[in-house]
Amino acid sequence: MGSPFERLTLPARVESVRAFHRFVRSGAEAVGLDLADMDKLDLVLEEILINIARYAYEDGAGDVQVAYSTEAGSLLVEVTDQGRSFNPLDAAPPDLALGLADRPIGGLGVLLVRQIVGLLSYRRQGNQNILSFRFPGPGPITP
């Protein structure tokens, strides 16, 4: 079975994102992600974390936990918050056909996550939102 999860919990704030990036970097290195994939992983994490910081907590203060586990060639990442229930898989996609003048400034974070991660899983467990995804670039087969 998979290796146990490494976990880091920090306040859900913009200023925590880089610390989470450094935290998952060890896992990314352990599974041999190349630099391009590491940047993509950082991007996905940043988008999820920024949204939690901005939208999850009514009073604007709360924590977020990032956990990862390195399984055979693959990084499992799980992001957990205790904010309002939000399933990004149900979010309406933005209208990408609008011209410059009409294009709203924003609404692209969830889209980027879904495009990069492909399939994403979401579950609501008690008062928690748990988003998870696996991050290998196409990898080697494992016997």
């Binding site: 994102v17 880089r18 391009a36 950082d42 990408l96 410059l100 294009r103």
Partner: protein, 110 residues
């Protein structure tokens, strides 16, 4: 992230390098505001050495472009490659900006 500005006759060239994320995208906003307040019509963002940009960076590019457009100017991009290129393509923002391969080409076209 580092932003290096060079003043040309018809535009300001902003060479943006490194990583543009939620924590520092505001610096790009400020650089744009500064040059716009000094009368710049066209800003050229050279992204050839930009390694990483998240949606907070995209917001900044979009906001500056809309602002300049309302002043009959423009935000022009060049050097778009790697992950930033992919991010612009995934969000279809690449169709909303004048884009040139190099800063030289962008300047020559003004």
């Amino acid at each position: 992230m580092n932003i290096e500005a060079t003043q040309f006759e018809k535009a300001i060239l902003l060479k943006v390098s490194g990583r543009m994320d939620a924590e520092n995208a505001g610096e790009f906003d400020k650089a744009c505001e500064l040059w716009i307040s000094q009368g710049a019509k066209h800003l050229i963002a050279d992204l050839a050495d930009l390694q990483y940009v998240s949606s907070m960076g995209l917001r900044s590019f979009l906001a500056a472009a809309q602002r300049l457009r309302s002043l009959s100017g423009s935000l022009i991009l060049c050097g778009l490659k790697g992950l930033p290129r992919q991010v612009f393509e995934m969000t279809k923002l690449d169709s909303l900006f004048p884009i040139y391969e190099t800063a030289q080409q962008a300047l020559a076209a003004l």
